[in-house]
């Protein structure tokens, strides 16, 4: 953009010379394309190309030893015709729904506390950084560190047993849906906190006073003013959390101890069996599903103001 302006100015200083002028204008037009080129190349190479590859491979043939260029829809009919796929998709959607509700509630509460109850900007910053501290270690480590906490002889169980609250260790704490959801909520809540915090910080404080002036109680203000105005942030957080949960395989594998399945885990298994075209077809179906979900969210909430 700047370069284009500089070009334009350089051109204006020149004496009126039609050919040179036209050349200058062409150069200016080319300059903006040139400036857009690096990002186009990066996105094309790392984003469009891989997706195209996946789509192409999803129509190929395979056996136990290799994959063969072809055009057949068997991978899709296999995927969509199997009740295992449907069950896995339903299970993944169930995780997404539960994790979404929990992260939304927890995320909103944390963001609300940070935005409205912490008075000074410095303290807000400090507490926000505290929220990000878990992200200093890797996902896997954070997940695995739940095992000594939740295990059969883990912290929770041994404490409860020793305190005499329960007679025997609870079995469902680890390697269960509970553990999967707990770990996911732990991993993904910050993705909900950040955008909601952002929208809450942008709410004009005089709106809250105006609500109070009109006789609204704290809950009424929350329900009628703050939550409607926080919707764009909630939508952005929802997109983050839903896409992350839909694509998750490591949390499901580790925390369920292999007892539950998710779509991404199914793909991973197919890949380890060298069934790349089947995994690719699965990936395309998942991609379409997630895109539909995102489109649905965007239809309900207008997030453009926040971008």
């Amino acid at each position: 953009m700047t370069a284009a302006i500089v070009e334009d100015e350089a051109q204006m200083e020149k004496p009126a010379k039609p050919a040179a002028e036209r050349l200058g204008r062409l150069a200016a037009a080319a300059a903006s394309y040139l400036q857009a080129l690096p990002l186009t190349l990066i996105l094309g190479f790392f984003f469009v190309l891989p997706i195209l590859t996946i789509i192409i491979v999803s129509f190929w043939d395979y056996d136990f030893a290799g994959i063969y260029p072809d055009f057949m829809t068997m991978n899709y009919t296999d995927t969509l015709g199997s009740w295992v796929t449907w069950k896995t998709y339903l299970n993944t959607l169930r995780y997404a729904a539960i994790v979404w509700v929990l992260t939304l509630v927890i995320g909103f509460c944390v963001a609300y506390f940070l935005a409205f109850h912490v008075r000074t900007a410095a303290m807000q910053m400090v507490l926000f950084l505290v929220c990000t501290v878990p992200f200093l270690t890797s996902n896997i480590i954070r997940m695995i560190s739940w095992i000594p906490v939740l295990g059969r002889n883990g912290l929770v169980n041994s404490t409860l047993v020793q305190a005499g609250i329960i007679p025997a260790p609870i079995e469902w704490l680890l390697y269960s849906d509970f553990a999967v959801v707990l770990a996911m909520v732990h991993l993904y809540t910050l993705f909900m906190v950040t955008p909601i915090f952002n929208t809450l910080m942008r709410i004009d404080r005089s709106l809250i006073e105006a609500a109070r002036d009109a006789g609204a109680s704290g809950w009424q203000t929350l329900w009628n003013v703050i939550i409607p105005l926080a919707k764009p942030g909630m939508a952005i957080g929802t997109i983050f959390v839903v896409t992350l949960v839909m694509a998750d395989f490591s949390t499901v594998q580790v925390m369920s101890g292999g007892q539950s399945a998710s779509v991404a885990l199914m793909m991973k298994n197919q890949m380890s069996l060298l069934q790349y075209p089947a995994a690719a077809a699965n990936a395309v179906v998942l991609l379409i599903l997630v895109l539909l979900m995102v489109a649905g969210i965007l239809r309900v909430v207008d997030i453009r103001k926040e971008l």
């Binding site: 609500a211 109070r212 009109a214 105005l229």
Partner: protein, 361 residues
């Protein structure tokens, strides 16, 4: 609607160790249009917000129509506030904005929408009823904010710099509308502003504030003609303030000496010699010409001339007075024009220079 008298009794507001409002007392008669006027940071907004109940009162009491409301929440005070940026809810249409307080009270939907529409009609905004605030101009937003404030049937309407977001032309139109509205509703208006023009045009009672204290609370004419303190005289802008020390008195006149050496006379109560005084001299009463008697004028050098249409503004210095303004009628000026650098005699009538008081601190 019925108007309420607002009685502020030695009210103080402290933010930590800083005092924003310092023990002020003020009685605003029922049905009056009161303007709180002062520079930014003088405590006028804090005072308004304490009346509204959006700010706790550190010390003192506020009575509204006879009942003490010091610890009441805003909605129980029968006041309504109009915010500086109007604070309209951006996610609601105009009807829902205006009906908001009714909704909070649990008024049934059909009724509250009907009443809101009626209120919008009163403000001539019914054509926009289904729009969002962002689709309105500044003046229209202000009308909606007024409608939202008035739907609660308040006894007093509190306006926090209501005109500051408007362009100069609209400002003058909306202030006429405010005045008309106050007349027709008959309720008490308290209006915070930093514009002297606005206060002069609107108020029945001008309260000039500075540094958390009230410098003067009086009718506009009195504030203009007899400013109580040097601050008021300077802030209202139509007086020259000359400082000096008293040298003598007699006959309702006080003689004082300006540090530069000039001796002048002003009307005022007798006071002891040596005391520092500020004297106010109306800028539009100063004439070009020699004084009829000693002490009612001086000779000055013109430093700047501004033509303002109906009048001409001369800035002059001389006789130890740094900054002195003369507003003269354009016809009189052009009959015998002066130029920058010229030495001219200035004079005024005995009644036009008066001793200004000071707040005891």
């Amino acid at each position: 609607m019925q108007a309420a008298e607002i009685d502020i009794v030695s009210v103080t507001k402290k933010y930590g160790s800083a005092t924003a409002v310092d023990g002020i007392s003020l009685k605003i008669p029922a049905g009056a249009y009161c303007c709180l006027l002062g520079p930014s940071g003088c405590g006028k907004s804090s005072t308004l917000r304490m009346i509204a109940g959006h700010e706790t009162i550190s010390d003192g009491d506020i009575r509204l129509g006879g009942k003490v409301v010091t610890d009441f929440p805003p909605a129980r005070r029968s006041t309504a506030m109009m915010f500086q940026s109007y604070a309209l809810f951006p996610h609601m249409d105009l009807i829902d904005n205006v009906a908001f307080s009714l909704k909070m009270k649990g008024v049934e939907k059909g009724e509250r929408r009907a009443r809101a529409l009626e209120m919008l009609k009163l403000m001539q905004m019914e054509a926009y009823a289904t729009r969002r605030p962002a689709q309105l101009s500044g003046g229209q937003q202000q009308r909606v904010a007024l409608a939202r404030a008035l739907i609660t049937d308040p006894e007093a309407l509190l306006l926090d710099e209501p005109l500051s977001a408007l362009d100069p032309f609209l400002k003058i139109r909306m202030r006429a509308e405010l005045k008309r509205l106050q007349k027709s509703l008959g309720i008490t208006f308290v209006h915070v502003t930093h514009s002297q023009d606005e206060a002069m045009a609107l108020a029945d009672l001008i309260v000039v504030m500075n540094d958390g204290r009230i410098e003067q609370a009086a009718a506009p004419r009195e504030v203009f003609e007899r400013p109580a303190t040097a601050f008021v005289a300077r802030f209202m802008g139509d007086h020259n303030v000359v400082s000096g020390r008293v040298t003598g008195h007699g006959d309702g006149l006080v003689t004082f000496e300006v540090p530069g050496g000039q001796t002048l006379v002003a009307s005022g109560r007798a006071m002891e010699a040596g005391r520092a005084v500020d004297v106010g001299i109306r800028t539009d009463r100063v004439r070009i010409g020699a004084a009829e008697s000693q002490g009612f004028g001086f000779t000055a050098i013109v430093s700047n001339i501004e033509y303002q249409g109906a009048s001409v503004k001369l800035s002059v210095t001389g006789a130890g007075i740094e900054d002195f303004t003369v507003i003269t009628d354009d016809a009189a000026f052009f009959a015998s024009p002066v130029i920058v650098g010229e030495a001219i005699p200035l004079s005024w009538a005995a009644g036009d220079a008066s001793i200004l008081g000071a707040l005891d601190s």
